[in-house]
């Protein structure tokens, strides 16, 4: 994920100080974990240098505030509407499967079984999280988890298909 566009998104909503950006970015990242504070300040420096972000001064508690510049808004909008190509994150798995299939059918079966086990485990953990998000009313994170689950379902269907063909 790009910290640059995360910051531009948050600043397009309102002026923020650095720590506020960190908290909001963690929330925006959702499932992917937390962000390193150092990364925020180095990115902010670069955004100011490139004219995407300005600093209108300090807030009441002497913290530096940041704001988006019109050039930053244009950059953000351009990025937002650009479609994202399907990134084949399972590339390693497909490569490994191709190798296993070429070398040894027993190993192929075993690797598919183990991959399936891993997927089911992730499905169960994510579904558990999903039900909690439904009850908390956190629609944004719920939809993100739903998206991941649909990908996992596709992977599982593919493995079942391969297994049935392997016989």
């Amino acid at each position: 994920m790009s910290v640059k566009y995360g910051i531009l998104t948050l600043l397009s909503v309102k002026q923020c100080h650095g720590y506020e950006l960190k908290i909001e970015l963690d929330s925006l990242l959702g499932l992917k974990g937390k962000i390193n504070p150092g990364q925020i300040y180095t990115t902010l420096d670069r955004l100011i240098r490139d004219g995407f972000v300005t600093s209108p001064g300090m807030d009441g508690e002497d913290r530096r505030l940041y704001d988006i510049h019109i050039k930053g808004k244009e950059e953000l909008n351009k990025w937002l509407i650009e479609p994202v190509a399907y990134s084949n994150t399972k590339e390693d798995f497909f490569f490994k499967w191709s190798c296993a299939r070429k070398t040894n059918s027993e190993l192929e079966k075993l690797m598919l079984t183990q991959q399936k086990e891993l997927i089911v485990k992730e499905v169960m953990e994510l579904t558990k999280l999903k039900t909690e998000l439904i009850l908390e009313g956190d629609e944004r994170r719920y939809l993100l988890v739903t998206g991941t689950l649909l990908h996992l379902e596709a992977d599982l269907t593919w493995i079942n298909q391969v297994e049935n063909r392997v016989g």
Binding site: T113, Q114, K116, E117, L118, I119, V120, K121, E122, V123, M124, E125, L126, T127, K128, K130, T131, I134, L135, T146, L149, L150, E153
Partner: protein, 239 residues
Amino acid sequence: MIRVHNVTKEYMQGQEKIQVLKGVNLQINEGEFVAVMGPSGSGKSTLLQLIGGLDLPTSGDIQINQQSLQEMNEKKRTIFRRRHLGFVFQNYQLLPTLTVEENIAFPIHADGKIRKRNQRSITNLISEVGLKGFEKKRANLLSGGQQQRVAIARALVNHPSVLLADEPTGNLDRTIAEDILRLLLTFNRKHNQTIVMVTHDIFAAGFADRIILFRDGVIEKIISRKDEDYAKYMAHFMA
């Protein structure tokens, strides 16, 4: 509370005796959302039918709220079923020419005249299942997802102790299935509705608090989402 004690179920297939359930023991507490999973022919749907009083065990005992289903005669069991149990099936089983409202009211009609409080309950349920505005629409003109919503409302109209659902999302695509599962989860949490759902789908089973894993007529394991190895065991079972 549901208590299943040493339950067996046998059928005759020609000359051969088939034992579908081989001594099942189980307790489901009030307000629990439980999923029953297992391969085809493992006995999961048979168990649901027995809990629902639609069939009787060959041996053993099933109690719902401390009342034994076997000890009731057929008539008493039918009345008990209507008043204390709600059923949702994979193929909805609505009366196609009746309207949404009429389908939902059907179990009340079977029990006598609709009173004012029943009408309020029907109106509330229609709203809760998201079918406001569809009250007068005939069931056969609804989509699969909408029909299942009607079936859920019909199952809940008598405020049953237990809602029994047999593959409630089996005929629906993933997005619509998700809406139905969300609805079941909401009724479970909001109204403390006890739910027992048979499913072959791990994406549906994950909504439940506990999952009963069936194999060859016996419970292989019961896993709870509170267990540390919950996901790991499920993965092992499925593989």
